[in-house]
Subunit: 147 residues, 2 copies
Amino acid sequence: MFSMKTKYAIKALIRLAHKRHNGPVLIADLSVEEGIPKKFLENILLSLKNEGMLASRKGKGGGYALLRRPEDIRIAQVVQLFDGPLAVPSCVKMSMVRSCNACGESPQCGLRLVMAELKESISGCLDRLTLLDLVLESEEPVFDPVI
Amino acid sequence: MFSMKTKYAIKALIRLAHKRHNGPVLIADLSVEEGIPKKFLENILLSLKNEGMLASRKGKGGGYALLRRPEDIRIAQVVQLFDGPLAVPSCVKMSMVRSCNACGESPQCGLRLVMAELKESISGCLDRLTLLDLVLESEEPVFDPVI
DNA sequence: TTAATGACGACTATTATAGTCGTCTATATT
DNA sequence: AATATAGACGACTATAATAGTCGTCATTAA
């Protein structure tokens, strides 16, 4: 459903959100903690940086950090970055990515209905979710020790 | 979003539904009418037949026909046939297809939330739609000629 | 100056997709 | 029976995407 890049990116973002008050995080640490191949993670983080979600610093004491607040990072943006825009036929979406290959743009093509409904479902879901939602979900359960 | 097989299958099913009272339809005709490579369409129709959606007859006067009523053919079943089951991590779905590669099954993996919500959205959408819905959508507009 | 650390282009291996080709089998018609 | 018609089916191929890897360079702090 998602490419590994997208999945790794989301996991890395969650981790960075958790650690966001501890200074820059090393790629190497993220790699080990999340089980993501280091060189691969490098590319991913760089993309996220270019997208304006992360900041980085080279040299000793360097690393990566969240640049925006978790509630301002939409999951839809991450997915789009790595998996590209939802492949919806141009008949459904005006800002078309490529022309529809299956239906010949016929105004009655029955595929349109499925694609349109699906697009609505998926983007509704991904647009609504932010990094904050995932961070809260993945929070360690809080034990309130009695005494 | 969908493979060509899935898209072609849906288009062929819609066409077969439209023609379902005219006797068997030739692969060659379907191929031309929908712009689907003939040999490729062959495979697709055969899969749909094995799935119990179509019947076929060899020899002269043969061809393919819908075996079930359009309202009894779920789009979800077509998509699943060609694109496989939604790749949802095993942590989300008990009937797991393959174990989750990205999250290590951790009960707090933040990916779970996205995957779970997305699966809910998508299968809700595809389970609800039947071939009948698409047929109605793709019906030629009816002209009621005055006189 | 040096060690630490990210930046980045180029490369590779594996897999999935979207077909194609050739031949075989079943059926209706004559 | 012979023949033309039509689907069945296994094997093959070409292209592209995915999931990485490798080597080297550029920055920065100490």
